[in-house]
Amino acid sequence: MALGLESSLGDTVITTKLDEVINWGRQYSLWPFVFGTACCAIEFMSAAASQHDISRFGAEVVRFSPRQADLLLVCGTISYKQAPILKRIYEQMPDPKWVISMGACACSGGIYDNYCTVQGIDTIIPVDVFISGCPPRPEAVLDALIKIQDQIKGETVLKDRHKDFKGILD
């Protein structure tokens, strides 16, 4: 709003920066893909149900196709058997995309420090926000969503995020 053009164009037109208008749109229309594998997915169900109602934050359009989603919510334990599927789902999502790792298992393996559990999904795909808890409360999911929105606010369309990420499956 700093160009001083509004006075000559009248009040039917507003001017802004491209990043700001795009980020504003992205922030409040995140379409989550719920990669629910375990207990955390039940808490996500609570976050989506009436009481906590994730639609108040503009993210209720839960997609089950990665091609239609831009927010990957990993809810639950990821085993080594599951890992290649998670990676493929992530790759199938179009850019720009964000990832929330929900719960102790997804963040670090949680109480399962053993032969079959991946010790944190950030070894496979890049993660933007981690939620602690086993399982986290629905409020924590909403908090993570707000954090992602805040993060989007400061981003630019010109930068390719996570281009250099290398995980154990790459």
Binding site: C39, F64, P135
Partner: protein, 571 residues
């Protein structure tokens, strides 16, 4: 009860060593006699063990007094009508050569023996499809062997195609390669999952379709294998309780209670009256919650989203009560060996009654939408029928088995916690179709609420933990003020409750069916081995029997009505 069963079995199998452990008769047979023993136990009318409950193996490598053979395989069988529980043990001298498979006797052995092969590396001769089930196909070694280090993870780079398996299944159904190549037959392969809205978690369902009809179906499980059993070997008995929360996470407290009951039965501990009533109230309450989630999700799959709000909102409301009671919403960890973590809070009866009324209203609202709904009837009645015989053969238990007309319920047939004195009915289905599997859960909720109200009326006052310093932690006052209390606390926390050396199996009627725990103890505070008998696992093993010949959309609602929970399925 089982002394007569013991005499009968000992007389019938003079070569075997028989003994009674808790509720079960344990037979030790030589490997060459295994097959004949199993087939006689199944087929002879006086034993009639139609239900293969579980199969597992034991690795005695690090056991203090190891038997001659390193590995033993144990089959757990049940005659549900007469409540006879039999365990058949046999040594495995050479795991590579293995023992004879029981797949020709019970369909349940198809999944069960695959798990033993995967986890212990024991071969089963004659098993038609012996490959890994819980671990991925690129895995090397067998994790439940004692010499496999717990932290040794192995990366999987690619998922298994399952092409060989689906072609084998097609061939078995009479569709050979020539038919597949015929231009007039259009067999299409359709893969659902492991990340698919219809699979409710991580299961993979691969179907071969002719039009919309399923010709053949193979399933892949194990995507949520979290190493429960290996982890449990490194925890004290009380430390395992939080792990049990995460088996069937929709009804976490049922698992807590089932687990604590299994350990207490071996310790010879009888918990206090009040604790028994608490466990009845809470397990029935959680059974209701489990069914609520199952039905809420299942009806969404059928397109009835409104039911989700009616049913799930009641579960959400229940979290208030549960949080006040346990401090957590989902994972309660509320039992302890020898009793409960805490007593009910003041005024719990009122809260619970409000909750029950809410649930009854939710169920009523949902039933109004469903019960006489033509669309629901057309989609579910006569669809995916499973006969009682097949259900038993594949090791089904719980509501899914009862929907097929078998009135087997451990609360009636092998009662614990005074269940025999409660007035309730066991709903039984008549057709074994999806409709029965749906409705049985609705009716079971009503029965559970009946039990809760009776238990609330009769719950006695008194302590919730037994007085045994070897089992239950001392009061905090004692710990902070005298050395005996402190030492007692320290020993119990660090060394755990010491279970006498031995092996036992104990089971419990969980929301999905028989939840069993098979323990081996070496006398220390940690189990030497702990195998869970999850009801879901065997139900999933018989999934193809329900869906083949039906349509793909029916398979989706069939999956939701059997309530597969990943944590319990894959452990």
């Amino acid at each position: 009860m089982n002394t007569t069963a013991l005499e009968k079995i000992q007389a019938a199998f003079p070569d075997a060593i028989c003994k009674v452990v808790l509720e079960s008769v344990v037979l030790d047979v030589r490997p060459e006699n295994l097959e004949s023993t199993l087939s006689r136990l199944k087929n002879e009318p006086e034993f009639n063990c139609g239900l293969m409950v579980d199969v597992t193996a034991i690795d005695y490598l690090e056991y203090p007094q190891p038997p001659a053979a390193r590995f033993y395989v144990v089959y757990t069988l049940r005659n549900w009508e007469k409540n006879i529980l039999v365990q058949v043990r046999t040594p495995v001298l050479d795991p590579q050569a293995g023992i004879t498979s029981a797949t020709h006797l019970w369909g349940a052995a198809l999944f069960g023996e695959r798990e033993v092969y995967d986890q212990y590396g024991i071969h089963f001769q004659g098993h038609p499809d012996l490959r890994r089930i819980l671990n991925h196909w690129q895995f090397e070694g067998h994790p439940l062997r004692k010499d496999y280090p717990i932290g040794k993870g192995q990366i999987c780079y690619e998922t298994d195609s399952l092409e060989k398996e689906i072609r084998a299944r097609l061939a078995k159904k009479g569709v050979d390669d020539a038919t597949l190549k015929d231009i007039n037959t259009q067999v299409m392969f359709l893969n659902l999952g492991p990340s698919h809205p219809a699979t409710h978690g991580a299961i993979r369902i691969l179907t071969a379709l002719d039009g919309e009809t399923i010709l053949a179906n193979v399933n892949e499980v194990g995507y949520l294998h979290r190493g429960f059993e290996k982890t449990a070997e490194n925890r004290t008995y009380n430390q395992i309780i939080p792990l049990t929360d995460r088996l069937n996470y929709c009804s976490s407290m049922l698992n807590n209670i089932a687990y604590a009951k299994a350990v207490e039965s071996w310790l010879g501990v009888t918990i206090t009256e009040r604790a028994q009533f608490m466990r009845v109230v809470l397990s029935e309450f959680y059974r209701v919650l489990d069914h609520l989630v199952c039905l809420a999700a299942a009806l969404v799959d059928m397109g009835g989203l409104t039911n989700y709000w009616y049913l799930y909102n009641e579960k959400e409301a229940a979290y208030d009560l549960i949080s006040r009671l346990t401090g957590a919403r989902l994972t309660s960890s509320f039992t302890r060996i020898g009793g409960m973590y805490r007593d009910f809070y003041d005024g719990w009866e009122k809260d619970l009654e409000v909750q029950l009324r809410g649930i009854e209203k939710g169920i009523g609202d949902s039933l109004k939408l469903v019960e006489t709904n033509r669309i629901v009837h057309d989609r579910t009645q006569g669809v995916c029928i499973l006969t009682a015989e097949t259900a038993l053969n594949y090791g089904f238990t719980g509501p899914t088995l009862r929907a097929s007309g078998v009135p087997f319920d451990l609360r009636k047939d092998a009662p614990y916690y005074n269940y025999e004195s409660f007035d309730f009915e066991v709903p039984v289905g008549s057709n074994g179709d999806i409709y029965d599997r749906f409705m049985i859960r609705f009716y079971e909720m009503a029965q559970s609420i009946r039990i809760i109200r009776q238990a609330m009326k009769h719950i006695p006052e008194g302590p919730i933990n037994i007085k045994d310093s070897q089992v239950v932690l001392p009061a905090k006052q004692q710990v902070y003020s005298n050395i005996e209390g402190l030492a007692n606390h320290f020993k119990l926390i660090f060394e755990g409750v010491k279970a006498p050396a031995g092996e036992w199996y104990d089971s419990f009627e969980a929301a999905n069916g028989e939840l069993g725990f098979h323990f081996v103890s070496d006398g220390s505070g940690k189990p030497y081995k702990l195998k869970v008998r999850p009801p879901c696992f065997y139900i999933m093993g018989g999934f193809h029997k329900m869906v083949e010949g039906n349509m793909i959309a029916d398979a989706v609602i069939n999956l939701s009505c059997i309530n597969i929970i990943g944590g319990e399925l894959d452990r």
